[in-house]
C-alpha cells in the first residue's frame, strides 16, 4: 500500500472508532499533544494504559473471587480504571466503570461480576483497535509519511 492509501485508511479507521464510541474527544487531545519532538507520545501512553489496565483487571478479578468481598477495594480499583480510561479517551471502558461503581456502592455482587465481564470485553476490544491504529501509524511513518491529524477535524 502506498503512503496516500495508508493515510486515507488511517483517517477512515480513526473516524470509525470515534463514531462507534470506542474513543472520545480526549483521545484527540492526546493526538494533539504528539509532535515531531515527541512522535511516540500516543503509543507510549497507550502502552502504559494497557499495562495499567491488565494489572487493574487482575486485581479486580482477585478481589471479586474472595469469600468476603472488600467493596472498598473493588471501588478503589474501578476508580483508578475509570480515571485512566477517561484520560486516554477509551469511552466505552470509562462508561462501564461508571456503572461498575454504582454496583459497588450498592454492594451488589451479581452486578459487580457482570460489570467485570463487560469491562473486560470492552477493554480487550479497544485494545485490539488501538493496537491496529498504532500499527497503521507506524507503517505510515516508516514509509516516510506523516499522520494526517488535520483530516479528522473536517
Amino acid at each position: 500500500m502506498e503512503v496516500g492509501q495508508m493515510q486515507r485508511a488511517w483517517v477512515e479507521y480513526t473516524r470509525s472508532l470515534f463514531r462507534e464510541g470506542f474513543l472520545d474527544a480526549q483521545f484527540q487531545q492526546l493526538q494533539l499533544l504528539q509532535d515531531e519532538s515527541n512522535p511516540d507520545f500516543v503509543a507510549e501512553v497507550v502502552s502504559l494504559f494497557f499495562e495499567d489496565s491488565e494489572r487493574l483487571l487482575a486485581d479486580l478479578t482477585f478481589v471479586l473471587e474472595q469469600q468476603n468481598i472488600d467493596f472498598k477495594k473493588v471501588d478503589a480499583h474501578v476508580h483508578q480504571f475509570k480515571g485512566s480510561s477517561s484520560s486516554i479517551g477509551a469511552q466505552r471502558v470509562k462508561n462501564d466503570c461508571i456503572a461498575f461503581r454504582n454496583f459497588c456502592e450498592e454492594q451488589n455482587i451479581e452486578g459487580c461480576l457482570r460489570c467485570l465481564q463487560q469491562v473486560k470485553q470492552d477493554y480487550y476490544l479497544v485494545k485490539s483497535k488501538l493496537e491496529a491504529l498504532i500499527r497503521l501509524e507506524q507503517q505510515i511513518v516508516a514509509a516516510g509519511g506523516s499522520i494526517p491529524m488535520e483530516e479528522l477535524s473536517s
Binding site: 487531545q29 492526546l30 509532535d35 501512553v45 502504559l48 480515571g83 485512566s84 484520560s87 486516554i88
Partner: protein
Amino acid sequence: MANTSSFSSSPSTKFSFDEKPHVLAVDDNLIDRKVIERLFINSTCKVTTAENGKRALEYLGLADGQHPNHNDLKVNLIITDYSMPGMTGYELLKRIKESPTMKEIPVVVVSSENIPTRINQCMQGGAQEFLLKPLQLSDATKLRCHIKKAITRGVCRRR
C-alpha cells in the same frame, strides 16, 4: 519517587524572563502523570512529577523532619489530583499554604468528580483553581497564563 525531567537551581534573588516556569504535578495515576507532563512541557514549562502528597512534600522540603532548603527550589505552580491514597490533594494544599516559604505558590486541584462541596473546600483552602479531569490543552494554556502573571507580578513588586 519524584521524577525530575529537568531541574536547575535558580537563586531566588535573580529572575530571568527566559526561565521556563516549573510545574510540580502530583497524581497517583501513572497515565495522568504522563499526560499532565506532556501537557505542560508542550506549553513550554519544566515539569516534575510526584506520585503522592508525601513525595510532593519531600520534594518541596516540607516533609516532617526535613530542613527546608528553599534557596535552590523554584516551583511556579503545583497541580494536584484530589483523590490520592494517604493524603488527599486538599490535605496537600493545606500543608503548602501553612508553609511560610511555599504558601505563595499557586496550587491547582484537579478531580474527575464534580462535587460542589469539594470544590468549595479547596477554594476556601486557598486553591488557585479547581479543574475537572481529564485535563486538556486549553487547561494547560490557561494555567500557563496564570503562572506568567504571577511571575510578572513578582518582578513588579521588586521594582
